[in-house]
Amino acid sequence: MEAEAAKYIGAGIACVGMAGAAIGVGNIFGNFLSGALRNPSAAQSQFGNLIFGFAVTEALGIFSFLVALLALFG
């Protein structure tokens, strides 16, 4: 196999890691919604925590994107 082709395949496989981040982000917003609908008055105060959890979870998906970039251009 050519090295160039292996690069693209590797980058594609690295992006599979984003699926995990997708599940995580979905979990966070889903759970926030279900909590917020049970107690709407407390939802507003938890917006910062929601975004923080989203950002930290998303970071792991970003890392797999980074690995894909490194495989392509590194």
């Binding site: 910062g48 923080f52 970071a59 970003i62 890392f63």
Partner: protein, 255 residues
Amino acid sequence: MADPNKVDPIHQFNIENIFAIGGNDGGFQLAFTNSALFMALTVGAISAYLILSTSGRGLVPNRAQVLSEMMYEFVANMVRQSAGTEGMKFFPFVFSLFMFVLVANLLGMFPFFFTVTSHIIVTFALAMLVISTVVIYGFMRNGFGFLKLFVPSGIPAPILLIVVPIEIISFLSRPISLSVRLFANILAGHITLKVFAGFIVTLGSMGALGILGAALPLFMTVALTALEFLVAALQAYVFAVLTSMYLNDAIHPGH
């Protein structure tokens, strides 16, 4: 990619010199690029708006002044909640970062405008600024007590052997995740926009049926533009929230 008939979604990120000093003989070159131009535009727009809107200092604020006061209050509340009242000494820093990222992202949404934050070097410089502030201020304020950041309290000693390296790695990955999050979101969003815009052109050149079909990606492009405005504001907010949380670690290093 060099095919002139294809839409090149990466072309928008090209950095071009507007004018340059030196560099003709392969030496050191000082260039004013389109990136620098848009950074200057961003700072100019923020300064002009904030100065002009608040210079009246009306007791009953007009619309422009309300908006600047809202942004001030928004960031002030965020810093106060995440970093405590002591963190308010970093308020000018966080406010400048937030406004710079927000306005740079929003300016980038205009067609033919360059997006400053779509380049990793810009966001990485901002992230390193944040992390070096945290490290330097943390050591200045707490001395070696700052290292308590890596040792969570109330954990039995054998587990600490695992937890401390994890905490150190998570701290070291912060500048990377902070910079790459902003850069990757903006980059990916802008590429997606251009790819869908390319579909419209390709379909539109296929005759009557193609023009009908081109309505679909056109609708997607409009929807994506709206989504990108959301992402632009959200990423600026995330950047500022994480900055104040990291500053909180420097101020109160114990868990």
